[in-house]
Symmetry: C2
Subunit: 409 residues, 2 copies
């Protein structure tokens, strides 16, 4: 008998009707002969409401207590889900993260999973029950309640699937799969049938929502096939799997756009060992998330410009930190640009196909999009461009790599 993990996000359990719908889906899988484990998130906007409540009481709430507060959201969902399944005449049992022995480290609000006790779940599955587990949460080895950070319910689902050796992990969401690009920006975007963990990781880190990176890392590490699909239809979604022969025939799997980026450049930095380290250590101290790093050496190697991109959210603080640094280090200037976007193409096919990057640059050139910076990894090419060209760039790249035709294949 195969085991399936089904994960339902907040929008899929937002009210009694949607909970009943999710319950029916789990029951159907059970009647089809599977053992079923559900992982559920907090209902709709519950988490946001709890955060707002906390801020009323304490503008800077302790992380341990924040976890104590937020985990109630998923606990409400699992209880209601179990009730819904029982109402439909099937047996169910709900568990908090702590109750299934989902042990984490003690980094409250962003804890990492250490172990999961598979026996408890197997015992209830063997007893014929649908097992419902609260997403997003765990406990430390000494019993403190923790949460796994943003997208934590996906991580719970995939980690559970790995721990109980599930045959598949289905992620139910309000879209019907992973798309070649954002359909709101490119109407020709098409659903991807199969994608590798590595490609999906890049898409996630480049801002394509759908799933959180850490859950995909778990899937890759333990080789859990992940099926991202709609909670509203029975259409097959997107399978996230290990690379198999033939998958690299599609050179580019998807195209992403990241907006609201700013660039900060320190001008005239002495080009000697340790300077870059000094600069980025200071930036890290302020918890500023750096995206790309850009360095150009000039003046016969005497001086360099060192720059980086960051989200607009962190921009003001990053600017202050850099200006203070520039003063201390007696640099020539700090230049900033708050109108930056990044377009990227992602595909494992790049590893074996040549001319992919130049095809990207050509397409952008033809559309008169100026490239300000280029960065590459094994399966990604990214270009920084002016924010005003962002949507146009995305569209021309989607067309250039014929993703409107390929996604659905």
């Amino acid at each position: 008998m195969s085991i399936i993990v089904q994960k339902f996000g907040g929008t899929s359990v937002a009210n009694a009707e949607k909970i009943a719908r999710a319950a029916r889906r789990a029951i159907k899988a059970k009647l089809d002969g599977h053992q079923v484990v559900m992982v559920v998130s907090a209902m709709g906007h519950t988490t946001d409401e709890l955060v707002a409540l906390a801020r009323q009481v304490n503008p800077n709430p302790p992380r341990r207590e924040m976890d104590m507060l937020l985990t109630t959201g998923e606990q409400v969902s699992i209880a209601l889900m179990a009730m819904a399944i029982e109402a439909a005449g099937h047996q169910a049992i709900s568990f908090t993260g702590g109750q299934v022995g989902l042990i984490t480290d003690s980094a409250h609000t962003k804890a990492r999973i250490r172990t999961i006790d598979a026996d408890r779940i197997h015992k209830e599955l063997k007893a014929g029950k649908i097992v419902i587990v609260a997403g997003f949460q765990g406990i430390t080895s000494d019993g403190a309640i923790t949460t796994l950070g943003r997208g934590g319910s996906d991580t719970t689902a995939v980690a559970l699937a790995a721990a109980i050796k599930a045959d598949a992990c289905e992620i139910y969401t309000d879209v019907d799969g992973v798309y070649t690009t954002d359909p709101r920006l490119v109407p020709q975007a098409s659903k991807i049938d199969q994608i590798t963990y590595d490609e999906m990781l890049e898409l996630a880190s480049l801002g394509a929502g759908v799933m959180h990176s850490r859950s995909i890392e778990f899937g890759k590490k333990y080789n859990v096939p992940i099926h991202v699909r709609s909670s509203l239809t029975d259409i097959e979604g997107t399978m996230i799997v290990a690379e198999t022969a033939g998958m690299e025939e599609i050179v580019v799997r998807g195209v992403t756009l990241k907006k609201e980026i700013a660039r900060i450049v320190l001008v005239g930095v002495p080009n000697k060992p340790g300077v870059a380290a000094q600069i980025f250590a200071r930036i890290a101290e302020h918890n500023i998330v750096v995206d790309d790093i850009i360095q150009n050496v000039f003046d016969k190697g005497q001086e360099a410009n060192i720059g980086f991109t960051t989200s607009l959210v962190d921009f003001r603080e990053a600017q202050m930190v850099c200006e203070a640094l520039a003063k201390e280090m007696k640099l020539r200037a700090v230049e900033t640009d708050q109108n930056i976007a990044k377009v990227s193409i992602v595909g494992i096919g790049m590893k074996t196909h040549t001319g992919v990057a130049s095809k990207m640059f050509n397409a952008l050139a033809k559309a008169k999009v100026n490239i300000q910076n280029i960065s590459t990894s094994e399966i990604v090419v990214s270009c920084l461009i002016d924010a005003k060209d962002a949507e146009k760039a995305l569209q021309v790249l989607h067309a250039a790599f014929e993703l409107d035709k390929r996604g659905g294949k």
Copy 2:
């Protein structure tokens, strides 16, 4: 250093402002040199809202899942309370029932406490923290989440106070103490300064809200002084204590009224051993709560009328059960009355004073209130009367025993 347990009910933590107020009270006790443990209920109407949500999903939700659902209410409160105390610059730590090792039996929705792990609490108190414990909840020895039933937070507070050998247990509520009777019905009602556990138990079982019986039983068993007081003022409330010399000088401590009672009488029951047992076994099978039992023998001891009172909530089902019984046993009739009330006087002084019951009957007679049935225990005399006379009876008894003058002494 003395230890104080402070329990705050739902109305005392209904919003951010009230939570902050409760936090200040705990901090004040800490600054006064006490070690402080807070027990908190769910905010305002949270529990009712969760029950309504459950009913939307399942009209008859499984008890285990109901407990899973409802315990989130207190968990929200403890997290917010800890945040509020930290916001005021003091150290706090919150615990669920499970986290402080409040082990119960597995009777979901009405579990009974078996043990409490005092060490965990003592450790945090010694570290200088205000410890905040979720009321109403516990876990079974194999980790299932349970609740203690109505008034469970009071029980948590008193049981915790006993377990950690607290010097006092303060129950903060929206009234300023226990009254001689319901002030909404008798404006002359006055606050009682001191009352014995036994008297308080009788008041609770006779429908005087304030505290739940089980918490008072705990207080009595472990001799925990309980102080019922207002969360809005600093006025001393009512001390619930063991009987001490002089307390029985006040013959009647309080007068109660229970309304919405129905009486059902099985007419013409054969007067032989085992018949009453048979009848009440059947009633118990249907979980109908029987209040008073009334039996009259007539026809030279050949036949009897066997009756009982029950709440209007259980009346319809009780009537159906009795009519089925009457048919099986070929009884003459089932008579019912849905307009019954019960007035009672309560006081340990009755044990040593005579003429108390006759004073009660005289007062009712003078007010032309007909007594339909009388029941007594060591410290209580109760009369069943017509519901239309209920308030009048309460008022004349309150006046007859001069409770308007005595309560405050």
